[in-house]
């Protein structure tokens, strides 16, 4: 039998007033508005129910949960009846017993009697409830009208819909609407003919369904069932852990049968996801056992040799000796490491520690370099900390939501659903994006303002909005005077009020009508709580850091910092971008963002680690690659990142890798970078890891081992072994000890321990003496840096502009079903939705080039070219083309340039001048 989370039937209610009711003789006090059903569940007087579940609004359709209330006529449904003070409720009476049996008799009269062979046997609420109400007979004729021969829809790769088992409780329909917000499902017909249907009466695969799994989760019977459960059987044990895809960091329960994973179920207690999931986390975990997984270490003398499978000891010694030799021949700084945002905090921490302590260099960087380094820089400058200001739940209090350069419904779908819920409730939406992302218009949601700017002009548009705020007198003066550095504000105010920053002056540059900018500024400044959410469309620009600061300025000037519903919030791409940055992965910073030149910080680490650390920053990834091409940098430890696919200007990256003497790749698969590696160290999937991930809201979540490492070694264990072989022993008995060391050395993590996380689920840093249970919203009383700092943010056009030769601007993004470079998702059935990268092009641009929908095209920039198919799209304006980079074969990053952010070198993926020509086929 599967052990279930307790389902309280209806959602929690928050209210100032408390009421006391008596249920079956037991008094309980609950917030006013709480349902009788929930109150009863809280006193363990479980009331039978089928249509109610505590992540959906009460519906009142199954009629099993009827109760008697003293002094009231009839038998109201407990799910839809709110508690009133003094109410006396009886949940078990002979009258109710008879009614419930009668209702159940009706259900069973239209349900197959195949429990023993049903895939949900033992995991079926109808079965449980038949037992709970004591059903013993069905007196209705078995020749009556029924749905037993209704068909089965198996079109979705991950779940089936068996209409014969449907009890029409509408939980799937409501989950799709209320939780996911896609509205793909409905009830068709009426009366006995009512049936769950996709909106256009197609099969699931052809429908609007995004396979988030909310309907499967909600289904009380085997009607919507995971194919993995049908194949493997009902799970017998479970382990709580954290998803390894995007920066939302959803909590899941891995449900297993023996050591075989049967399904991943989103955890209702999950602080980030509150029981919701997306197609990736919910279903796309098959890659963890994919046949491409490498599970034994391999080495080779040169990248032109065949790989040789070896034992761990040999691989570790081989790696250490090569690295030592490079250092002996070319100097201490000729080697370095790159940490991965897909690895745990503990794994990242030991890699940077190895680089600093064992290698003796600060040449450590992280893949966050190519995504959110400007976030770290910009928010540190203005607010004093390199992190988003809010928890995800904060969005429920937002009145105006400003989404800039992010596409939450595709790239951060679980948070996207939360945002959509708030938008459906009435928050106003401003989207600043060259593309009409789904949020601009989707069911029951429409952006009030879509500023469809020219790629590369973010700073111009946000400056123009701030100009309107300042010149119209909408500045939150009290906030600025009390909370911010007034001198810096005044300087910024003078700057931003300059005519050159007006919407009218910038209209031609940005392509956004001045009136639209003015209207959007008014909405953001005046709606109440204004919240900014942004993604890589902000950071991956030559002015990425400027833009982050420009948004911070705007938020401070309007007083939108320091409470629920406001803030400046990066939507992080990878599951542990935040954590990998927190853990000291940057060449200039120790864990907790303390500069390596800070003597007191360095002394702390010197003493803890027993070494003398270097006080000058090491090389960033682009510097390492440049140095490699120059022959000065010859050894690289690459943890779980595929720089030969994900980094810009791939030709340059490949040249750098080829030039090195020792490239160590630690990964699940032989990725593109491994083509240039000498040592391959098999990594662990998230199902094998023990540690923590930190999501975009600074939430530290436990990753628990569901199965043992396929390679036999933990990743941090491998890193420690190499460190030891290099002459610097690092010994931990378990991952928890690594976190203990992090906590001891990092003030913002001082209170964090595995024991605390196991007890409370998760915490958001800072978690320390001042905030022992963590910090959902930052800067509440004061900014981390003291006073908020305004920074003048002049708009400087990127060098990358369209020319006669390359007249189009390429921008890149993500799609829901695929993740990053696709190493994981391409090895799952998610490919059914996105088998290849496709170039979106405006019809006018396509026509001018003789390109039709579906044609192969060649796209080229000044650094390279690649081929893919084209799709005519209305989501982008003329002059802009768009694609994803999930598939290595399309090689999008072959054409992206090495332009980068002025402050952090974050690559300018979002703007590349290109030309598109028809092509005969995929070509070479």
């Amino acid at each position: 039998m599967t052990v279930y989370e307790r389902d309280l039937g209806t959602p929690a209610v928050s209210a100032d007033t408390q009421v006391t009711v008596t249920i079956d003789g037991i008094p309980i006090t609950v917030p006013e508005g709480t349902s009788v059903m929930r109150a009863a569940a809280l006193v363990d007087a479980a009331i039978p129910k089928l249509c109610a579940t505590d992540n959906l609004d009460a519906f009142g359709s199954c009629r099993l949960c009827l109760v008697e209330i003293e002094g009231r006529p009839g038998t109201p449904a407990s799910c839809t009846t709110p508690c009133q003070d003094g109410m006396v409720v009886n949940t078990q009476t002979p009258r109710l017993d008879k009614l419930r049996k009668g209702v159940m008799e009706l259900y069973i009269s239209d349900h197959p009697l195949d429990c023993l062979t049903c895939s949900a046997n033992g995991d079926c609420e109808l079965q449980d409830m038949a037992g709970a109400v004591g059903s013993r007979q069905v007196r209705y004729s078995d020749e009556g009208e029924n749905h037993l021969s209704a068909g089965k829809d198996e079109s979705n790769p991950y779940f089936t819909f068996d209409a014969s088992k449907c009890i029409v409780c509408s939980r799937c329909v409501r989950a799709c609407s209320e939780v996911q917000g896609t509205f793909a499902l409905t009830i068709a017909g009426r009366g006995f003919g009512s049936a769950v249907s996709t909106a256009q009466d197609t099969d699931f695969l052809s429908s609007d369904c995004v396979s988030c799994g909310a309907c499967v989760q909600a289904c009380p019977t085997a009607t919507l069932q995971e194919k993995s459960v049908i194949d493997r059987g009902v799970p017998s044990r479970k382990v709580k852990t954290t998803c390894a895809y995007c920066g939302v960091g959803c909590s899941f329960t891995a449900e297993l049968r023996g050591d075989e994973l049967v399904r991943m179920v989103p955890d209702k207690q999950g602080g980030a996801n509150a029981g919701h999931s997306c197609v990736k986390g919910r279903f796309a975990w098959g890659y963890a056992n994919h046949e491409d997984r490498i599970t034994e270490p391999m080495i080779r003398d040169s990248i032109y040799d065949e790989w040789r499978v070896v034992g761990w000891e040999e691989a570790i010694q081989f790696a250490a000796s090569r690295l030592k030799k490079i250092q002996a021949d070319h100097g201490i700084d000729a080697i370095g490491g790159i940490t991965s945002s897909r690895c745990t905090n503990e794994e990242v921490y030991v890699v940077q520690k190895m680089v600093r302590a064992a290698f003796g260099t600060n040449n450590v960087d992280t893949c966050a370099r190519v995504c959110h380094s400007p976030t770290g820089y910009g928010l540190k400058q203005t607010f004093g900390t390199s992190a988003g200001t809010q928890d995800f739940a904060s969005v429920k209090d937002a009145d105006a939501i400003l989404v800039i350069g992010a596409n939450p419904t595709d790239a951060h779908p679980v948070f996207g659903s939360r945002m959509k819920r708030r938008l459906r409730e009435g928050a106003e939406l401003i989207v600043i994006d060259p593309r009409a992302i789904d949020l601009v218009r989707s069911p029951h949601i429409g952006a009030q303002h879509h500023l469809q700017l020219r790629p590369g002009t973010n700073v111009a548009v946000v400056n123009a909005m701030a100009h309107v705020v300042v010149t119209e007198g909408w500045v939150a003066e009290d906030f600025v005077n009390e909370r911010c550095d007034v001198e810096s504000f005044k300087a910024w105010e003078r700057f931003i009020a300059l005519p050159e920053n007006s919407p009218e002056a910038l209209e031609e540059t940005s392509g956004v009508p001045a009136t639209a900018v003015r209207a959007a500024a008014e909405t953001y400044a005046k709606a109440g709580n204004g919240a900014i959410y942004y993604g890589l469309g902000v950071t991956e620009h030559s002015q990425g850091s400027t833009m982050v600061m420009a948004m911070a300025n705007l938020a401070m000037a309007t007083g939108n910092i320091g409470r629920s519903g406001v803030g400046v919030n990066p939507l992080r791409g990878q599951n542990n971008v935040q954590g990998s940055c927190d853990m000291g992965s940057f060449p200039h910073e120790f864990a907790g963002y303390r500069h390596v030149s800070d003597d007191s910080a360095r002394a702390l680490f010197d003493s803890a680690w027993g070494v003398s650390l270097r006080g000058e920053p090491g090389m960033r990834i682009p510097n390492m690659l440049d140095a490699a091409v120059a022959g000065k940098f010859r050894g690289l430890y690459v943890q779980g990142e595929d720089i030969a696919q994900s980094d810009p200007n791939i030709h340059h990256v490949e040249a750098a890798l080829k030039a090195m003497d020792c490239v160590i790749v630690q990964d699940l698969f032989l990725n593109e970078t491994a083509r240039f590696a000498h040592i391959f160290l098999p990594g662990t999937s998230f199902l094998e890891k023990d540690g923590t991930f930190t999501n975009a809201e600074r939430r530290i979540n436990r990753v628990r081992p569901v199965v043992p490492p396929l390679s036999g070694m933990s990743e941090w264990g491998v890193t420690c072994a190499i460190s030891e072989a290099m002459g610097y022993p690092m010994h931990y008995d378990n991952a928890g000890e690594i976190m203990d060391e992090i906590a001891a050395l990092t003030p913002t993590f001082a209170g964090v321990s595995f024991a605390l996380l196991d007890e409370v689920g998760s915490v958001q840093w800072p978690c320390n003496g001042e905030a022992p249970m963590g910090t959902p919203v930052m800067h509440e009383q004061r900014f981390v840096r003291g006073e908020g700092q305004f920074v003048t943010t002049p708009y400087v056009p990127t060098d990358e502009r369209s020319t006669r030769k390359y007249p189009l601007l390429l921008t890149t993004g993500r799609i829901l079903s695929q993740y990053n470079v696709g190493a994981q998702t391409r090895r799952t059935q998610n490919t059914i939705w996105h088998a290849e990268d496709i170039l979106d092009i405006h019809a006018a641009d396509a026509e001018a080039r003789g390109v039709a929908d579906g044609d192969w095209i060649e796209i080229s920039s000044r650094v390279g070219s690649t081929r893919m198919r084209a799709r005519l799209s209305e989501e982008i304006p003329a002059g802009v083309v768009y694609t994803t980079f999930h598939h290595p074969v399309s090689g999008t990053n072959v054409i992206t340039t090495d332009n980068s952010d002025w402050a952090t070198n974050c690559p300018e993926y979002k703007v590349t001048a290109v030309e598109v020509r028809p092509s005969m086929g995929a070509g070479s």
């Binding site: 009629r63 008879k98 009668g102 209702v103 239209d110 006995f192 005046k526």
Partner: protein, 511 residues
């Protein structure tokens, strides 16, 4: 100058009234198209007066031939004499229907000449709270069937702050709604329709008074699509009211703004249930909502909403014009004022009878209705629509009032009175009740969705004589589950006709 009055009511038109009007016009006569007097067995009932507002004489069942041969005079066999002196009419206490059949429904002067607009003027001369008090004092209760006191409902809406529509920003314009339920779906009822066709301005005036009292700015009429003539009449009346300044941004030249729109249903009985009606009005599947929240607090698009039946709202102008006390003086117990009864089925004189509460079912059926049309003995009367109980003849002395009817297990519903003679098979009628429920159930709750289908099946087995004892018990158990377990009155009341048939006419189930 002789003026002819020919009803334009759909019932009269179905009997040829349009042809008669055309024939009169062709003859060069002045013709006023009115509503129907509600004496449906006499339609087409053509009236004539020496001047527009003079007393009218009439002829029943008039044909075009009667017009063409100019034979309509006092000697014509269908001559009725002065119409208002006909017993069927003169015995009535017309309040809501005071102008129906008399005025040109779309003539604002005619409307005012016959007392129209006096209610709204009176209301707007009072404070909104005083209007609420008047409605409370009148004792007016909801005519849709539930009989909830209208004044209390209005007060609840008046006590709410206006809200932005669901999904609109908190900065958006805030509203309250007046929704009129004109989805008159009960078999044998037509009072809403005849009022909307015969005096649509009265409904709009009532809505404006309600809006003024509760602070609403928008009105919606949810009209069943089967009433195209009512749709035409209401649409035209809205135009008239706007042109006269009775609706719009400045009602009667005041600061108070209120406007009305019509929405058509799509043929679902359950959309007459108020929450299903709201779902339908919002553009969704017509499915019942659980209460709470009450529509008065969170109604149409989530804002405070008055939902009343056509007859409830149409009672209001008279209450304000003639005084709440005058209204409250009519009726019995807590059933105050008048009810518009609709006589239908196997009845000799079908039509509209507006009487104060307390008139007996027997008076309605025998005195007004003249007994069965077939002339055969009366077997049963179904009160309150398809979900109402069947009364046997010996129970017909019950006063038609909310309280008294409950005592005999019946209900007033929307005022429908449907008569059956002794040829009716009450087991077939019981089956029909279940079948109707199965056909019209929205499918949300289990007792109604599955129960109604099983109900038909069990009654079929019963009528086949199979296992009758068990099936009877099962049918009673099922009725119990539907009655106590259903989400709304659709499933909850369906057992009424079934059980009353089983109780009073058991022999019909075993023949």
């Amino acid at each position: 100058m002789t003026v002819w009055f020919v009803p334009k009511d759909a019932a009269a038109r179905s009997m040829g009234a349009d042809g008669i009007a055309a024939a009169l016009i062709a003859r060069g006569e002045e013709v006023v198209r009115t509503g129907s007097r509600g004496m449906l067995w006499l339609e087409p009932l053509v009236e004539c007066a020496s001047e527009r507002n003079g007393s009218r004489v009439g002829w029943s069942n008039v044909t075009v031939a009667d017009i063409n041969d100019a034979s309509l005079d006092q000697n014509h066999p269908a001559y009725l004499g002065e119409v208002e002196l006909l017993t069927f009419l003169s015995r009535q206490q017309r309040w809501i229907y005071e102008r129906v059949g008399i005025i040109d429904p779309l003539d604002p002067q005619d409307y005012q000449h016959h007392g129209g607009l006096a209610g709204l003027k009176a209301a707007m001369a009072m404070a909104p709270a005083d209007v609420l008090d008047a409605v409370k004092t009148s004792g007016l209760r909801g005519r849709g069937g539930a009989g909830f006191p209208a004044g209390i409902k209005w007060q609840t809406v008046a006590d709410q702050e206006p809200q932005p529509l669901r999904g609109q920003p908190s900065r958006a314009t805030r509203h309250k709604f007046i929704c009129v339920n004109a989805d008159e779906g009960d078999s044998g009822t037509f009072a809403d329709r005849m009022l909307m066709e015969g005096d649509p301005l009265c409904l709009l005036e009532g809505m404006a008074i309600a809006a003024y009292a509760v602070g609403a700015d928008r009105g919606m009429i949810y009209l069943r699509s089967e009433y195209p003539d009512a749709m035409d009449a209401l649409s035209a009346a809205i135009d008239v009211a706007r042109a006269e300044g009775w609706l719009g941004q400045s009602v009667l030249g005041s600061e108070f703004g209120f406007d009305v729109e019509i929405r058509l249903g799509a043929g679902s009985y359950v959309c007459g249930e108020e929450t299903a009606m709201l779902e339908s009005l919002e553009g969704r599947r017509g499915m019942v909502r659980a209460k709470p929240p009450l529509p008065a607090i969170k109604g149409l698009f989530g804002v405070p909403t008055v939902i009343n039946n056509v007859l409830t709202i149409a009672s209001v102008p008279g209450i304000l014009a003639r005084g709440a006390e005058a209204y409250a003086a009519l009726g019995c117990e807590r059933s105050r004022g008048t009810q518009v009864f609709q006589l239908a089925g196997n009845i000799a004189q079908g039509g509209i009878v507006e009487m104060a509460f307390g008139v007996s079912a027997r008076e309605l059926v025998e005195d007004f209705g003249g007994g069965t049309l077939s002339g055969r003995p009366l077997k049963a009367v179904q009160l309150g629509g398809p979900l109402g109980s069947y009364l046997p003849p010996d129970q017909l002395d019950v006063p038609m009032a909310y309280e008294a009817l409950v005592e005999v297990g019946a209900m007033l519903g929307h005022g429908g009175v449907v008569v059956f003679d002794d040829s009716a098979d009450m087991a077939e009628q019981a089956r029909f009740a279940m079948e109707f429920c199965a056909e019209e159930s929205c499918g949300k709750c289990t007792p109604c969705r599955i129960g109604a289908v099983r109900g038909v099946e069990v009654i079929d087995r019963l009528r086949e004589g199979k296992d009758t004892e068990t099936q009877t018990l099962l049918l009673r158990d099922l009725c119990d589950v539907m009655k106590q377990g259903s989400l709304c009155a659709m499933g909850g009341l369906t057992p009424n006709p079934v059980l009353s048939a089983l109780d009073h006419f058991a022999e019909d189930f075993s023949r």
